[in-house]
């Protein structure tokens, strides 16, 4: 949530540039990145003579059986002939190819556990592969249509995935693969000597043409005042991944940049540094930069009108990625990582939806969240007392603003010892929480990973006794760094003994006399911040890389996973508070591949500027590509005091994000929406109510993503993978499969926007019901401050609940409205998914999942429009195998009184003759001058099958 070391200076010099580039490394300040880029530069200089020194010796390879899923073989390096490498190529289910390479019998072990934390399990092997070998290469043909082909070239080593004979992705095609082997400092001493002498002895090093002739930062590296001792020496990994036939690449969150990633090298480079993945607490980050931010997901989509493919490079260490869009149309990427084995998954596609499914197959999906957590969250650093919280809640209720969650930032905790209430300001934490819960709301309280080193702090004391704290480079004792509480230590969540301990802390009733958070309730959500980890006095505001974790791994090996483990354990802890478990809510700032399984993320400490508002949308889209859909940016911007216009627009951005939270820095003025003047106050009230009315849409979208992995916010290339003009668009998006298309305004003074439409279809203005047909593939909509560019795609049925309530649980029995937006052929479909929103009862079939359809039959006469429309509701749950599904399940019974109160039919064309409930009575209806048919209260239950027939002739 906040700012590390630079805050103080910044405030003393308010005119200074906020982001301090000097706090963070550029590639040229990072030894292995320098080496990696130098390697690429050497290759570039001599394109004709350059070849990879890595090869496979064919004789070993002959044992491969045709039906085998893959093979393991030695790899030979011509520059280090005495070093042994081993390569592993396997084809898994879903056509996923996994390529692993490690040093064999080396001096030390490379970190090989990154995938283990990211994956939901060991992926199953494919049973449908046919290998053949010709002298130079091994080929595997697979896939249901046998259109996939994996080719492993032996010398030089190159791995290529083909679809329909077309190259999809190539590993080491540019010969930049390099795995620095372990060595002793002594071995390399003579060379170090040479380094000083200059060029004359260059020929002594036969590897120099490839590796260079210096030992650049092999054994230590100093950045600012910190020296990384690098006890293991050089161990970096360089790999080029090329997509010869795909012009766009997406993913590798988290960066504040365009969704379609721009070049970082080559003539059209937009950035000079590579994209960096190294979880970092960046103070006032830039709104257009390749610098690393709080989370890292090393997943990249490559996309063209013909196919989509992706790579998941399961690395946990600092990684830099150069991207070059090359003239002939493809994209060349170069991945440079500090440590770890090579462990790359190729996801074959061929559509974005397939890639999402394949990635979900590996790392899992975002589970269905607690329903309340998709409502509106009100946060501030800090609500200063329990009475403050009560006061804020009262104001929300007085103004009739819906809100589901109130948040407490770090100042609730005495001396920043998380869990420990400051009793002067929060004398009655449980009563306060209950007062919030009395209106169906929840509280989320922050628990950060740094523990104040104080023996009167039971959490630290117990962790210290258990010996589960991260160790300094000596490998002995406890690492000590500075964070909010002052001198702090960090639990090493890689240590299995920390797991039960952490889970025990969240129990709201004391068990076995162990300290636990009894001053809390089972409903409290948890906010995990600062888990990069943020260390104020550490290099790049994080832990020294030579710190030691469980198993002797260095922090450098596990850095990018560290934050995920913290959220993972907190999620488990919050879930284990009750028996049977209930869905917990955990918000994390740091994340990695797989973090989607443990809750929501937000884009960290953004600024209250239009640029940050705009890039926040792109970042949330990129996170969706990275498999982490439950995302949002702080509404209003964390830093600064947004003007009312900006705040209103930002509420729209928030209301159309999966995670919707307003937050503010301690130095800002209060900006709870009720403090706004009119008309802004009422505008925000309307936006909040709009979000709440659409919760059925959002929740249904969450259900879908929990199954499919397809993100909730869908950019153009995901919706229309063959429409090239849409591949670069990242300022408008569709919401799930609902058919809603929104383009939040992120600029000052805007009065209209133009939305890109990829198809010749009718789209309806959500608010005016006006039917638009795209002109030159665009629809222009008015977008004054009180207007939201929101369209319904023809062919969609949107379920909403239009009654304003104070919080989402209070909507449980409210009736539904269906907007039936007929497509150009007079048809539409949609769905709504409901469950209790709290338990895992949905796994036992305690759901209501309805499919809505509208089908038209043509009128009889020539040139006639629609003759009859039949609007119906069917049970979708019955047709899937959701546990032992029973339409009369407990949940369905509990919402048996819920009606569909209104049907709004768009696109009918002419006034109907009659509207009848199928098999029943005539219904009341109205046909407005805009051509909208409003059917009043058909008095049908949402849990039932029903049909309404609109007769036009």
């Amino acid at each position: 949530m906040r700012s590390p070391g630079t805050l103080l200076l910044l405030l003393l010099l308010p005119t200074a540039l906020a982001f301090k580039p000097s706090d963070f490394k550029t590639c040229s300040q990072s030894g292995f990145c320098r080496r990696g880029r130098a390697l690429a530069a050497r290759a570039q200089e001599s394109p004709s003579s350059w070849h990879s020194p890595y090869s496979i010796e064919p004789p070993e390879f002959l044992a491969l059986a045709p039906r085998q899923q893959g093979f393991t073989t030695s790899v030979y390096s011509s520059i280090h002939p005495n070093v042994k490498f081993v390569l592993d190529v396997i084809i898994h289910e879903e056509g996923i190819v996994r390529v692993r390479m490690d040093e064999e019998d080396g001096l030390r072990k490379r970190y090989n556990e990154a995938a283990q934390w990211a994956l939901i399990g060991e992926p199953k092997l494919s049973d449908d592969v046919l290998w053949t070998i010709d002298g130079e290469k091994a080929k595997a043909v697979y896939g249901p249509k046998k259109d996939m082909k994996l080719v492993v070239d032996f010398n030089p080593l190159k791995i290529t995935l083909f679809r329909h004979g077309k190259e999809q992705v190539v590993l080491n095609g540019r010969g930049l693969l390099h795995m620095e082997h372990f060595r002793t400092k002594e071995d390399s001493k003579p060379l170090e000597h040479i380094e000083g002498e200059g060029q004359s002895v260059l020929q002594v090093n036969p590897a120099a043409w490839f590796e260079g002739d210096t030992q650049d930062a092999f054994w230590d590296e100093t950045f600012s005042t910190w020296t990384d001792t690098k006890p293991k020496g050089p161990e970096s990994l360089s790999l080029d991944i090329t997509f010869p036939n795909h012009a766009h690449v997406y993913g590798i969150p988290q960066h504040a940049t365009n969704l379609s990633l721009p070049s970082t090298t080559g003539p059209i480079a937009r950035h000079t540094d590579p994209f960096r993945l190294y979880n970092a607490d960046v103070f006032e980050y830039l709104s257009d930069s390749p610098t690393s931010l709080y989370g890292s997901i090393p997943l990249m989509h490559a996309h063209s009108a013909n196919s989509t493919v992706a790579v998941f490079n399961a690395l946990a260490s600092e990684t830099w990625i150069d991207i070059a869009h090359v003239e002939k149309g493809g994209v060349e990427t170069h991945w440079i990582s500090e440590s770890g084995i090579l462990d790359v998954f190729l996801l074959p596609g061929p559509t974005p939806t397939d890639v999402f499914a394949q990635y979900a197959h590996l790392t899992g999906t975002a589970p269905l969240p607690a329903h309340w957590s998709i409502g509106y969250h009100q946060c501030r650093w800090n609500y200063v007392s329990s009475d403050d919280i009560r006061g804020v809640q009262n104001r929300f209720d007085e103004e009739d603003f819906p809100v589901d969650v109130f948040w407490l930032d770090i100042e609730y905790a005495e001396d920043h010892r998380y869990f420990m209430w400051n009793k002067k300001t929060f004398p009655d934490p449980v009563e306060m929480t209950r007062d919030v819960e009395a209106v169906g709301r929840k509280m989320v309280v922050i628990v950060d990973p740094h523990l104040k080193r104080a023996n009167d702090y039971p959490v630290y004391k117990r962790a210290s006794e258990l010996g589960v704290l991260v160790k300094p480079k000596s490998g002995e004792g406890e690492y000590e760094g500075w964070c909010w509480p002052g001198s702090s230590s960090w639990i090493d969540f890689f240590h299995p003994a920390s797991w039960d301990f952490w889970i025990s802390l969240f129990k709201t009733k004391t068990i076995d006399g162990q300290w636990s958070w009894t001053e809390s309730t089972d409903n409290v959500g948890i906010w995990n911040d600062m888990n990069e980890p943020s260390v104020f006095n550490g290099p790049e505001i994080t832990m020294p890389k030579d710190n030691v974790h469980y198993g002797g791994w260095e922090h450098r090996d596990v850095h990018n996973i560290n934050g995920m483990l913290f959220a993972n354990l907190t999620f488990q802890a919050a879930e284990a508070r009750t028996d049977p478990p209930r869905r917990p809510f955990v918000l994390t700032r740091a994340f990695y591949a797989g973090s989607q399984r443990f809750g929501a993320m937000w884009t960290g400490d953004n600024l209250g500027t239009w640029e940050h508002m705009a890039v926040g949308i792109k970042m949330v889209l990129a996170n969706g590509v990275g498999g982490m859909p439950f995302a949002g940016s702080d509404v209003g911007g964390f830093f600064g005091n947004p003007e009312p216009e900006m705040l209103v627009r930002w509420y729209v951005v928030g209301a159309f994000s999966p995670f919707f939270r307003a937050h503010a820095h301690i130095d800002t003025k209060r900006r709870e929406p009720y403090l706004l003047e009119e008309p802004y106050k009422s505008l925000v009230r309307d936006i909040l109510r709009l979000r709440y009315s659409m919760l059925p849409v959002w929740y249904t979208a969450f259900r879908e993503t929990s199954e499919s992995g397809v993100p909730i916010l869908r950019p153009q290339y995901v919706m229309f993978p063959e429409d090239e003009a849409g591949f670069g668009i990242d300022d408008q998006y569709y919401i799930g499969s609902s058919g809603l298309l929104v383009k939040p305004v992120t600029q000052k003074g805007v009065m209209e926007v133009s939305m890109y439409i990829a198809e010749d279809q009718v789209y309806y203005d959500y608010f005016t019901n006006h039917a638009h047909r795209p002109q030159n593939r665009h629809i222009t909509l008015p977008a004054n401050l009180d207007q939201i560019p929101l369209l319904i795609r023809g062919g969609s049925i949107i379920p909403t609940r239009e009654r304003p309530r104070r919080s989402s649980p209070l909507m449980k029995h409210d009736p539904f409205t269906l907007r039936i937006a007929l497509d150009t052929s007079g048809n539409a479909r949609g769905e709504v998914y409901l469950d209790d929103g709290e338990t895992y009862g949905y796994g036992r079939g305690h759901v209501v999942w309805r499919g809505f359809g509208a089908e038209s039959t043509k009128g009889k006469g020539k040139g006639q429009g629609i003759g009859m429309v039949r609007i119906s509701s069917v049970d979708l749950a019955a047709s899937t195998e959701v546990g032992a599904y029973d339409p009369m399940n407990e949940f369905a019974r509990s919402v048996g009184d819920v009606r569909v109160e209104k049907l709004v039919v768009l696109g009918l064309g002419k006034k109907p003759l009659s509207v009848v409930l199928d098999g029943g009575r005539e219904l009341e209806w109205e046909f407005t001058s805009e051509g909208v048919l409003v059917i009043k209260d058909p008095a049908v239950r949402v849990v039932d099958d029903w049909a309404v027939v609109v007769q036009s002739e």
Binding site: L7, D387, T425, M811, H813, D897, D945
Partner: protein
């Protein structure tokens, strides 16, 4: 076909609601149907639409203004009336109707379908009456105290009026005296001016003037430096107290340590650890180090106290006295010198005699010339005049203040329309919150004082009443603003919003820093307890 389909029409319906359900008594008369042929209709209250009478309270929103659904939640932004028999009827937002929660305001439970919420109006009513009674009592007691404040204001008024009257007279007398003395001084001056000019050419006098100017400049510079030093000290002290050691900014840490060494302060974090107090022992040291002084030289205290006095020395008088001391005795006239021969006991009366003679002489133009030191006389006259003028000014000031106080006394914008706040002028209230004590001296200044010692910060001076209300309204006096306090080292000037309610004591209840350096302090005072009979609807407590 789904087996449930048979249930479709068995929906638990709200359609059976009474048409006036949720309608406030004032509107009940509007909820009557109009018979149109065989069916009954009803017109929305905004007159825009005619609907079937059966559509009223049928849980579907037909009217734009929501008036067809007074008893359900079907229309947004509607109001719902609960009768609350046995208690007082209440109006709630329609968003709270049928939401599964029993509203406190609707003790009759009418906001939810029957059977969901119990009717608690008996208990709630009793509780309410008890509470109202308690509030009434409090207000009664409070208003008694308040009336004593008003009485005080009236007494003050009388006192001030009497004072003003006295002062007017005094001013008159003093003005006359000033006139008289000015007359004398002007005459004496015209007599001596030329002579004085000649004497002023003395190199000694000229040098004295230069010294004077130099000393004055030096003092000015010295003061400037002292101010700068104080300001820097303040900055560094706030830095030391306010910096966050967690940020680990070495430059800041060095600045803090450097200041601590220079100012002889213990390291702040050692102090905060607190228990052992080890670090405090060094604190006194540096003071003694400066005590070594050069003999005869003024120390800081003397400079502070006496330099101003020295600079006020009247050089002209000095010049004349000097002249008398060094000039030839013979040049003195007998008349002027005669005092030497007069016995001490008679001296005062002689002097007054001589002065009047001299002034008489000068009035008649006699006694001019070297034998007679006119300059000294003129100077004395001038001093007397300026003394008299000063006294006059003081008296005038006193009168002005008294007049202003009088005006403020019953000014709705000042001490209230009844002067009820006058009594509290300057009264200091404080609240200990553990780490700090907050002190508000009403109509003066608010301060935050660390309990660990030190002088603390000004949180602002009284600047206004509640700007959101108008003077005279009770609401106006429920908030006081204290602004332009000490500047936060990384934020705005500190300020306080003092929120007051009626209570029998003048006391502070809570302190909260809702935004950085902006404090909200709550408290009570009898000054806000308006008498019960004074029940203007707007001014309800």
């Amino acid at each position: 076909m789904h087996p449930w389909l048979l249930l479709v029409f068995a929906l638990p319906s709200l359609a059976a609601l009474d048409k006036t359900y949720g309608v406030p008594p004032s509107l009940v008369s509007k909820y009557v149907p109009r018979t149109k042929g065989s069916h009954q209709t009803w017109t929305c209250l905004d007159g825009l639409k005619e609907i079937a009478w059966s559509a009223v309270n049928d849980d579907y929103c037909d009217c734009q203004d929501g008036s067809d659904e007074p008893g359900t939640s079907a229309c947004p932004n509607n109001k719902f009336y609960c009768r609350n028999e046995g208690h007082i009827g209440a109006i709630i937002q329609s968003s709270r109707v049928n939401d599964g929660l029993c509203e406190q305001e609707c003790c009759d439970g009418s906001d939810e379908p029957s059977g969901v919420c119990p009717n608690t109006c008996q208990e709630v009513g009793a509780e309410h009456r008890k509470k109202t009674e308690a509030e009434r009592k409090l207000r009664k007691t409070g208003s008694k105290i308040r009336s004593s404040y008003i009485a005080y204001a009236h007494k003050e008024k009388k006192r001030l009026e009497a004072l003003v009257a006295d002062l007017v007279q005094e001013i008159e007398t003093r003005e006359k005296e000033v006139e008289r003395l000015r007359d004398i001084a002007e005459r004496a001056e015209s007599l001596s001016a030329a002579e004085l000019e000649r004497k002023k050419q003395s190199p000694l006098y000229q040098s004295l003037l230069v010294h004077h100017t130099a000393l004055k400049s030096l003092q000015k510079e010295h003061k400037k430096h002292l101010e700068r030093e104080n300001a820097l000290g303040d900055i560094l002290t706030s830095l030391r107290a306010g910096y966050n050691p967690n940020y680990q900014d070495m430059a800041v840490l060095e600045a803090v340590r450097g200041w601590e060494a220079l100012a002889g302060l213990p390291h702040i974090n050692d102090v905060r650890k607190g228990d052992d107090g080890e670090a405090d022992t060094t604190a006194e040291k540096p003071k003694t180090e400066d005590d070594v002084e050069d003999e005869g030289l003024w120390n800081a205290a003397k400079i502070e106290k006496e330099l101003d006095q020295l600079l006020k020395t009247d050089h002209v008088t000095l010049l004349l006295e000097h002249d008398q001391l060094v000039g030839p005795a013979s040049a003195q006239s007998l008349l002027l010198d005669i005092s030497a021969y007069i016995p001490d006991a008679l001296l005062p009366s002689y002097h007054s005699f001589r002065d009047s003679v001299l002034s008489a002489l000068s009035v008649f133009g006699i006694g001019r010339g070297g034998a007679f030191d006119t300059s000294a006389e003129s100077n004395r006259a001038r001093v007397a005049l300026s003394d008299a003028e000063h006294s006059l000014k003081l008296t005038q000031d006193e009168q002005r203040t008294a007049n202003e106080d009088l005006l403020d006394l019953f000014d709705p914008d000042g001490f209230g329309p009844e002067g009820e706040w006058k009594k509290l002028d300057g009264m200091c209230l404080s609240k200990d919150t553990g780490e700090y004590t907050y002190e508000v001296c009403l109509f003066d200044e608010a301060r935050q004082i660390p309990n660990s010692g030190g002088s603390g910060f000004s949180l602002g001076k009284f600047s206004s009443w509640n700007k959101a209300a108008r003077p005279g309204e009770l609401e106006y006096y429920t908030r006081q603003h204290y602004t332009q306090g000490a500047k936060c080292w990384n934020g705005p000037h500190r300020s306080v919003e003092l929120v007051l309610t009626c209570g029998t004591e003048n006391t502070l209840l809570t302190v909260a820093e809702l935004e950085k350096c902006e404090y909200q302090i709550t408290g009570t005072t009898p000054a806000l307890c308006r008498p019960l009979e004074d029940e203007h609807t707007k001014d309800e407590l």
